[in-house]
């Protein structure tokens, strides 16, 4: 009896949230661009989930693309066996593109989660307390942001690939170094963004009203400031999920990310570089992986763009 009462209360409590969610979905349905974004992202999620079925792994590490027994340099065009054709060394592009999707999700989610955690915590603290803490945190972000991101990551990869990774006991692989580097250059932007939001929210009357009600700092931060400051960050994070994958792909393309034969779109395009000089003769070597990256980013960008409009409280309340 009691638990049922509690459940109905919980249900009542969830109703407004569900209403907001329905509203959001309705708005997404209304705009064709966000609909495209939504379907693209869903498409990639389906591919990622079904990857073991679509392209059954043949090796212990599923991210290593299987290759034929004899080494064939010349790429083979799309065929029954290799739907997207092969690239240097008889590497199956279809497998690479499919497993590249999982890899992209994995990379994007890990990087964004870490960046969000660090960035939001530090930004919240800096913005709320101000003073010396703020000064120290913000000056540190200034220093990291004084570098164009890619270039600092390049330097880190060069350094780390000659240093010992404490987790593995060997020198850092370029791919791990790249992920670490992207995290390192990613968080200051979030810290700045959320700090600005916190400073804006902090001056609102309801924060003072909460203080007048006797709330502690922690309560004000978690119950009032964070819920009102987080939305722009969520939007940026959804946009960045694509951007970070693009970033990693660019590094792989330069040869500073995934090793050859790894299921990474950027790496596959790097491989295709050798065949570009033949014009469109070996078009499949770069068109397929390129399309995958582009559509992946496009999906997240469109979705983020839609969120930007929909989650804007001003727009909502109208």
């Amino acid at each position: 009896m009691k638990s049922k009462g509690r459940f109905s209360e919980f249900k009542k409590g969830m109703q407004p949230t569900i209403k907001e969610l329905k509203f959001t979905l309705k708005k997404i349905r209304q705009s064709p661009l966000s609909l495209i974004g939504m379907s693209l992202v869903s498409f990639f999620i389906v591919i990622a989930v079904l990857a073991p079925v679509l392209a059954p792994p043949k090796m212990a590490d599923p991210f290593l693309i299987p290759y034929g027994e004899e080494y064939v340099t010349i790429p083979e065009p799309p065929s029954q066996l290799h739907p997207f054709g092969t690239t240097t060394g008889k590497i199956d592009l279809y497998y690479g593109c499919i497993w590249g999707t999982i890899y992209a999700f994995r990379l994007g989610i890990i990087v964004i989660a870490a960046i969000l955690l660090i960035g939001v915590t530090l930004g919240l603290i800096a913005g709320y307390y101000g003073g010396l803490i703020d000064e120290v945190i913000m000056r540190f972000t200034d220093i990291i942001l004084a570098f164009p991101g890619l270039i600092l990551v390049m330097a880190l990869i060069v350094a780390l690939s000659q240093a010992i990774n404490p987790f593995t006991g060997q020198t850092w692989t370029k791919i791990d170094a790249a992920i670490l580097g992207i995290m390192l250059v990613g968080w200051p932007g979030y810290t700045r963004l959320i700090r600005g939001e916190v400073l804006r929210v902090k001056t609102e009357d309801y924060i003072e009203a909460s203080r007048a009600s006797g709330s502690s700092d922690l309560r004000i931060m978690t119950k009032h400031i964070l819920p009102n400051a987080i939305y722009p960050i969520i939007i940026v994070a959804s946009l960045d999920l694509g951007t970070m994958v693009l970033f990693a792909a660019a590094l792989s393309f330069l040869g500073l990310g995934a090793p050859p034969r790894y299921a990474d779109w950027g790496q596959l395009i790097n491989q295709a570089g050798n065949w570009v000089s033949y014009g469109l003769q070996y078009w499949w070597t770069f068109v397929f992986p390129g399309l995958f990256i582009t559509l992946f980013c496009l999906g997240w960008n469109l979705l983020g763009d839609a969120f930007r409009d929909i989650l804007d409280p001003l727009y909502r309340r109208k």
């Binding site: 009542k12 009357d205 119950k223 009102n228």
Partner: protein
């Protein structure tokens, strides 16, 4: 008359940063040496134009802003009184009790012992002791319930100190948080004073939850009680503030303010953001609550005609100073300070037959960063003399609790 709040020479400055190193180069003197008393049960009006420091004064008095000087004394109810009120509330809400029932409360026993009340017979005490043992297994019973004897409560009320005088400018932040329940604030614009991402039930319950006054089911009951006080009901609990009209939002803000049963509420322009037709409803509500809950208000507003209707006494502020303070009828009928005169004369009267040619003062309020020397009003004052540029007038009683700060009047 009972003094609830006493303010002595209160000062609140905001720093103006400047220069290469962002150092403080000047002060905005928002409140600059203000003294007055607010009596229990009254509505104390504070009027003035924008930038005169009236809102800052209200917030500084609640220590939402830290004062730069001066003292504030707040006569809050004593902890014992709060305890007794809590018990009475508990007893009243248990309808099955009759006047002979004895319910156990260790806290009351402690109080009774402390103040040497031997109202309970030895037999009753034994019974209570037995109950104490029995209670151990009945955890569900509310431990705050007590002997249902109004007589005993009355006696106890006489014994305990009813009030405790806190110096708000000195107390620690933990004490401050504890007595926040006795003083509250209602803001001008409910769209910004209510968290847009919180449900009404959480907004109204916040003071209870944040200060740990109540928990669980109790909170729910108290929230509904508070909402009913302001004319809303249970069906509004699970909504966001943007789903309400302006008047209703302000009611929600009021419900949050009264949920801890405060003694003192600062009403900071509470009707400025609503339309005329709704304004009257809110003013009605404030008066009804004042009667029901024994509230004392400080009503801050730039709308002089409303202040006239609601306040018993009114203070007029100009550039961080009180220039005149008196009973409402007195000050509105015959203001003494030249600024107050100009201010009251400038209110447009909604009666075309009373169209009169009134003198308007020239110029605008100067910046509070570098207020004029001497009397701050002298550059705009029609009766200013050379002396006014040098001598800063003090707020003095010119008879019957009518205070004026003007060199021309006090002489």
């Amino acid at each position: 008359m009972d003094t609830l709040i006493e303010v002595e020479n209160l000062k609140k400055y905001y720093p103006v940063l400047g220069g290469v190193l962002r150092k403080k180069i000047a002060d905005v003197r928002a409140v600059d040496g203000v003294s007055f008393k607010i009596f229990k049960g009254e509505t104390f009006g504070v009027v003035g134009e924008s930038g005169c420091g009236k809102t800052t004064l209200g917030k500084t008095m609640l220590r939402l802003l830290k004062a730069n000087g001066g003292r504030i004394f707040f006569n809050a109810p004593s902890d014992e009184l709060i305890e007794i009120e809590k018990m009475e509330y508990a007893i009243n809400s248990i309808s099955s009790l009759d006047s002979r029932s004895i319910v156990y409360s260790p806290k009351l026993l402690k109080l009774l012992k402390k103040y040497g009340l031997k109202y309970l017979s030895a037999e009753d005490l034994t019974k209570a002791k037995e109950l104490e043992d029995a209670m151990g297994s009945l955890k569900k019973l509310d431990s705050r319930c007590i002997v249902n004897s109004p007589e005993l409560m009355r006696l106890l009320r006489e014994k305990i100190p009813a009030r405790k005088r806190y110096e708000l400018t000195k107390i620690s932040s933990s004490t401050l948080r504890r007595i926040r329940r006795h003083m509250q604030i209602v803001y001008q614009d409910p769209t910004t004073s209510l968290n847009p991402r919180m449900l009404i039930k959480d907004i109204v319950a916040e003071p209870l939850v944040a200060q740990g006054i109540a928990g669980g089911r109790k909170v729910y009951e108290l929230v509904i009680d508070a909402l009913e006080h302001v004319g809303l009901s249970e069906k509004h609990l699970y909504r966001y503030s943007h789903e309400f009209s302006g008047g209703q939002r302000q009611r929600i803000a009021v419900a949050r303010a009264i949920i801890t049963r405060p003694r003192f509420i600062v009403l900071d322009e509470p009707t400025s953001a609503v339309d005329v037709s709704v304004r009257a409803q809110l003013l009605d509500l404030f008066q009804a609550l004042q009667k029901d809950l024994d509230l004392t208000y400080m009503f801050v507003s730039h709308d002089l005609s409303i202040v006239e209707c609601v306040s018993r006494r009114v203070a007029v502020m100009y550039l961080g100073k009180i220039v005149e303070l008196a009973q409402t009828e007195e000050i509105y009928k015959e203001p003494l300070h030249p600024y107050a005169q100009a201010l009251f004369a400038a209110i447009p009267v909604p009666d075309p037959t009373k169209k009169r040619e009134r003198p308007s003062i020239s110029g605008e309020v100067p910046s509070p960063v570098n207020p004029p020397s001497g009397c701050r009003f002298h550059p705009r004052c029609p009766i200013a003399t050379e002396a006014c540029k040098r001598v800063e007038p003090e707020l003095v009683d010119v008879g019957g609790g009518h205070f004026v700060a003007c060199n021309g009047v006090s002489k």
